[in-house]
Amino acid sequence: MTSPILRIEDVHKSYGSLQVLKGVSLTVQPREVVVLIGPSGSGKSTLLRCINLLNPPTKGRIWLEEQEITAPGVNQDRVRQRIGMVFQEFNLFTHLTALGNVMIGLVKVRKMRKNEARDLAMFELERVGLADRAHYYPAQLSGGQKQRVAIARALGMDPHIMLFDEPTSALDPELTGEVLAVMQKLASEGMTMIVVSHEMGFARQVANRVAFMENGVVVEEGTPQQLFEQPVHERTRAFLRNIMQ
């Protein structure tokens, strides 16, 4: 058995007296796709932000490729380079074109030369099928296109793992397909992914594992089949019943 790419151990996160995560543990193997489901406010998004240290945990430890990234003195910027993140609200840089959005990290963080960065950025845009929109500004793109640019931007950093925080929730239903297609393609290429999503179809088709979170803890996890067909916990069942309606 290979060593896990990500190991989360008893992670807590609170904001003042508000406890959002109450001891989450999760292990992700390379090339695995894990989908996190659960009601809103259950701590899924917070968990993602703990993993890439945007909001470091208040307690607990996280290892990324054998390195404990929650240890004191870790260069958090370096860690984030290895973790791609895609947001519900896209968060494209509004003053830059699609190409500029992908390039800026390559130039500023990976210190690539401009022409090299441009070539790589074009390659990443092609990967998400948007080479022809390279010179459009975010405001000139549809929601689905924006999210695909955001994915290309994350891919440009050559991440070892990708986090998706409800990537299709802000999209009109007819636009979710193109984003999910790109994600599916990434999964098939072997990208390790943690996806917070309500897209049960995607979870069924693409996920290796599904974890159900509620009230700051992982209630239950397993293969999509196990979780969707034979959930063990009553809370899981209730949630699934709710969402299927």
Binding site: D77, R80, M85, G105
Partner: protein, 214 residues
Amino acid sequence: MVQDLLTTFTFIVQGLWVTISVTAVALTVGLALGMTMAIARVYGHPAVQMAVSAYSVVIRAVPVIVIIFILFFVISRYINLSPFWAGALALGFASGAYQTEIFRGAIQAVQPGQMIAARAIGMSRLQAIQSIVLPQALRLALPSWGNEATLVLKDSTLVFAVGVPEILRRAQQVSARTFEPFLAFGVALLLYLALTLMTTQVLRWLERRYRLQM
């Protein structure tokens, strides 16, 4: 009459370059101060934030003319400041306080998601401020900044208090000699009007050129 107008104009217009230089120096100094202090105000250590607020409050409470006098009569006991530099820097320090507020507002108006996304691709805080937040804040600040520029242009008349012969002073000189205040100050008015129009046109062009697509 035409001859009078011509001599009056050629005399007063010599102050144009002085007015432009004073305004340009003041705006540049104010821009550097304002941007630095706005960043410190939003992202800095609480003590730094307090210091910036104190500067902003104190400077905005003091009439610009007093700052000019302090620089020219007090500070220049220790540092050799010509009237031009004392006046222009004083205007710059004053404008810096106002520009701090302009840029602070603009930085805070940039969506928080921009900073988060920048950090998520591995940018340091400083890099994110530099390449993501500031370029957007500057665009958002442009309209207010243009307003500040025209205010500084008008405040530039104050530097005459320490003997810098800008447009208005030259108009006074002509008026004293010819006893035709109407002509002299009319020419001054036209020059200021032209400068203000030029400034607003340039800024409007910049605004169009760098408009943020939201």
